[in-house]
Symmetry: C2
Subunit: 333 residues, 2 copies
DNA sequence: TTTTTTTGCTAAATATATTTAGTAGATTGC
DNA sequence: GCAATCTACTAAATATATTTAGCAAAAAAA
């Protein structure tokens, strides 16, 4: 257990002041007119003894923790864990670390966690806001903490966000089903006012209206059990004699598949929102509206870092196109 | 943007010293003989103004960051993202935060990340060690940083670990296939000396030897492309005319399913290690050896917190039983 | 009454950096 | 030749807590 080297040890060893060492280590040698000779001497010595500044002391003084807070709906959902992986990689490349947590659509938990992260003085937030978070989000803004919303946003508060073009994605998916000759097409969604859900509903409606056919909409409770959800999905599909179904999230589609498999109901044509390993392998393979995680996370981190470094002059609100990936489940034989 | 309240503000407002406030806030009022009256007065005031100590200053002074470092193989793998979710929840309950990252079986990246986390002075590590990390793990131990290995361990270094009983899980799975009347049973694994892979091989071997039948073993490279893996799996299964296959990881099984689906090869009987949403829904549904994530993470956090708080008197090495969940894929019709 | 102990609290040191304000000496300007 | 400017640094303040060592007054013991 070797003792940590301090900046004062370096100063003492080289017979110079702590200030000088600090300037050199923070790339202010030129600005502060430290001679090249001394700069080199310090840098060489620092390298030799492998000095690393204490991040805590540094953060305490500068107010920058180089930590970002990532709050997603559920890190165990493959969509979000994929997002988390991309974000993590990009953040590390830029010298930031990520602390994360799942909010599980629990308003109380979310508020507590955001407060906890603020107490920890994260340099910025990435949040997929669940409902009821208007005040909290607004509070973050008021405290001037850099923030980017993700996957959905809060219309009543003007913030940066990066989301997918859910309305268009949903429209294209529905149109695809309509053009396949399906008449009775249902949408399975959630009782949720989150923007992504509203947009997916809107897109579905727009396509249905365009084709002048009746719409069938079933919303499930966020907190209903898997068994309840499955039963409701089955009923909805069977009772309405649906030809095709658009699922508003990947896990709704998974629930749907389970429900229909269990009851040996023959599968209607279907499209799901968001990719899932299952979908490529399922028999039949499942058509999806896929979000461009690569681009979403790139813009996300880019926006957040820009805001942190003060380079962002105005609010940045991006909508990234989705891609309809047609597989077997939506093709009429 | 209201200004932060400092401990000195409180002291000033109440006309007492900073020391006294600090004692009271750190539950040392009794020990330091602060009067009950004053204690209450301070606590009430703190509550009123909503004072929260600056974590950075606190950490700098005490050396405790209340942050744990979680290093997993791949956070996008559903097994690990599930683990991450459980760990996160338990950690927060105990007042700890998690910074995480994926090591992607990249030795260099892993070493860099561990060093980074050490520089950040995490209070403890949770690591699924990839190969070549003996020295780094040993280094963590030498620096007296609390550590629990997970999913696999490093035999050459004596550390805490929590792993599943992979040997037994593999043995049971193989035996189950043997008892189903399958003769030619193959194991698909990885070129890896990690303990969990060795144990899964051992368990397979033990069962095969017990039944006195020839074993078929195929190992894939960690870094081979999906296409390569798939081709090799297909060849292995077809060339050896296998009746059944045991896959040593969930993603190998997924690759296998993709490979066999693409080439319309009829599916042999199969069992996979680790659960995956896909497996319940696949047709046929896939039999798995399931790890008890609930118990694994409970023991994990419990052990780590015990070590951090100095309550752990000796190294703790736990092996948790797996469960064989029999589904359609392994049952002989 | 004097000494000892206890009570209830505080001043100053500490953790480890960054940053502001300033200084001594050398050089330049006029 | 003397003021003004520049060069190359540094002392001290700062960020915000925790912790050690110690002090004055009150109570108890002698």
């Amino acid at each position: 257990m070797k003792k940590r080297v301090l900046i004062s040890d370096i100063a003492k060893a080289l017979g110079i002041s702590v200030t000088t060492v600090s300037f050199i280590l923070n790339d202010k040698a030129k600005e502060k007119r430290i001679s090249d000779a001394l700069t080199k001497r310090v840098l060489d010595y620092v390298n030799k003894v492998g000095y690393k500044p204490n991040q805590l002391a540094k953060s305490l003084r500068t107010g920058q923790t180089k930590i970002l807070g990532l709050l997603v709906e559920d890190i165990a959902n493959p969509f979000f864990s994929n997002v988390a992986k991309h974000i993590e990689r990009r953040a590390y490349e830029t010298g930031y670390h990520i602390i994360y947590c799942s909010m599980d659509n629990d308003e109380h938990k979310a508020k507590e966690l955001i407060q906890l992260f603020m107490d920890r003085q994260v340099d910025g937030f990435i949040i997929t806001p669940s409902e009821g978070l208007e005040d909290t989000i607004s509070n973050i803004k008021q405290n001037n903490i850099p923030l980017v919303l993700f996957d959905r946003f809060v219309p009543s508060v003007e913030t940066n966000y990066v989301v997918s073009d859910n309305r268009r994605g949903s429209y294209e998916a529905t149109k695809h089903l309509l053009e396949g000759g399906n008449k009775r097409i249902g949408l399975i969604s959630l009782y949720s006012n989150q923007t992504q859900m509203r947009d997916r509903l809107d897109g579905y409606m727009e396509a249905m209206d365009e084709f002048r056919v009746q719409s069938f909409i079933k919303k499930l409770n966020l907190d209903s059990s898997e068994a309840e959800s499955q039963e409701q999905i089955r009923e909805f599909v069977v009772d309405n004699k649906l030809d095709a179904v658009l699922f508003a999230t990947n896990y709704l589609a998974v629930d749907g598949l389970k429900a229909l498999k269990q009851h040996k109901t023959s599968l209607p044509k279907m499209v799901a929102f968001d990719e899932h390993t299952l979908f490529k392998l399922h028999d039949p393979s499942i058509t999806v509206v896929s979000q461009d995680i690569e681009q979403l996370t790139r813009e996300l981190i880019h926006t957040l870092i820009a805001e942190i470094s003060g380079k962002l002059k105005e609010v940045r609100q991006l909508t990234i196109p989705c891609q309809l990936i047609v597989r077997e489940s939506s093709i009429s034989s």
